[in-house]
Symmetry: C2
Subunit: 216 residues, 2 copies
Amino acid sequence: MEADTSRTEEYLESIYKLQQEQHPVSTSRLAEHLKLSAPSVSEMVKKLTGKGLVFQSERGVCLTDEGKSLAKKVIRRHRLSERLLTDILGFNWDEVHDEACRLEHAISPEMEDHIAKSLGNPRTCPHGHPIPDKDGKLAKEKLKPLSELKAREKGIIVNVFEEDPKMLKYLASLGLIPDVCVKVEEVAPFGGPLIVCVAGARYALGREVASKIKVK
Amino acid sequence: MEADTSRTEEYLESIYKLQQEQHPVSTSRLAEHLKLSAPSVSEMVKKLTGKGLVFQSERGVCLTDEGKSLAKKVIRRHRLSERLLTDILGFNWDEVHDEACRLEHAISPEMEDHIAKSLGNPRTCPHGHPIPDKDGKLAKEKLKPLSELKAREKGIIVNVFEEDPKMLKYLASLGLIPDVCVKVEEVAPFGGPLIVCVAGARYALGREVASKIKVK
DNA sequence: CATTAAAGTTAGGTATACCTAATAAAAAAT
DNA sequence: ATTTTTTATTAGGTATACCTAACTTTAATG
Ligand SMILES: [Mn+2]
Ligand SMILES: [Mn+2]
Ligand SMILES: [Mn+2]
Ligand SMILES: [Mn+2]
């Protein structure tokens, strides 16, 4: 039962996020996401294994139940922080990720409760991702990336799997934010762009970008 | 121009606060306030000296101009955090110190600005201490401890120099909070208690406690 | 199948910030 | 003026979390 540091939290958070895209998380992806060298991550993963927070399968790192639970606590604090920053402090959605990534380690359970209460127990972060509740329960919906819609199909944006401020700013400038209805007008062949219609306007969106936007 | 860590900030903050009570700050007082061993503090002070943030005089540690400036930035973030916690998130004044002491290191200049703006540029923290402005300017008033008032003298509480939650809770329960008018009814001799009148009620207050309450 | 490339780990090292035990210096008390 | 006490520092050590360079293992490719 060793003390848990903010670095531990940061690793677990990253592993949790990455495993949503691809299940066992490779050391190299983790290192890239955390902007650390591979050996640093390799070493830390060993320590996390020792603490019973992760285990290493054939193809990569997996969270244990305890690790998953801690990760969700961190993610709850992260997403509540983001909401605090946008809804109360007037930040834009593209400015909150890094800020929240620091705040999440400085927030006590009491502050977490106060934020949740003040915000009226929000269900999602500004990017549309669900906020785990106190028991770690996470609402999961069946979503598909916008890039998989066919021509003339419509969808409502649920979330945006992206943390790069520039990309987020760009998406917001097109009105591609949660709860907005998008219609795919055309899909260019050979992995080409999508022509989408948002609030009456038409835009060409690269596949890569469109794959980050999850719709229902 | 080395990177500045949260520990550096914490030391400078403590030194700044302690020097207000007694100018050059002794290693032992600093160690006690930071809840660290004397050798740890001794060592860290040497490092801070190397960074040009403090210097050691005959009787103790003093902040350089750069150290003072950094300390005031930390204190600004601390006090703005406290205000955020009480005014927006609904904390009581006795619950915010430790929380703010962690938040202050996780807040960017942008967040600092957003908090200040959202709160309407508050001039003081919930305990009545002035919030340094962006340029480090600090409003200073001539105050005296409540314990120095004579019988039948009145004062308005400006601030409470105390961070212990229990004490703060006690003071709030008596209504001894900033902007409240207190009248000293009697002063018991030989360092005995003061009988004070607050909002029509009468209380006996120890000298020690009364010395923490600054009035004008 | 052999070679090359990618991914992961070991080895050895650094910086930061803490600790206890021992020692030195300064202040207070006798 | 000694002795005692307090205060400060040095010495030696630990934990955490990072690094580069070198090596090993695994996967991909000709
Ligand atoms: Mn984070
Ligand atoms: Mn988010
Ligand atoms: Mn602090
Ligand atoms: Mn305060």
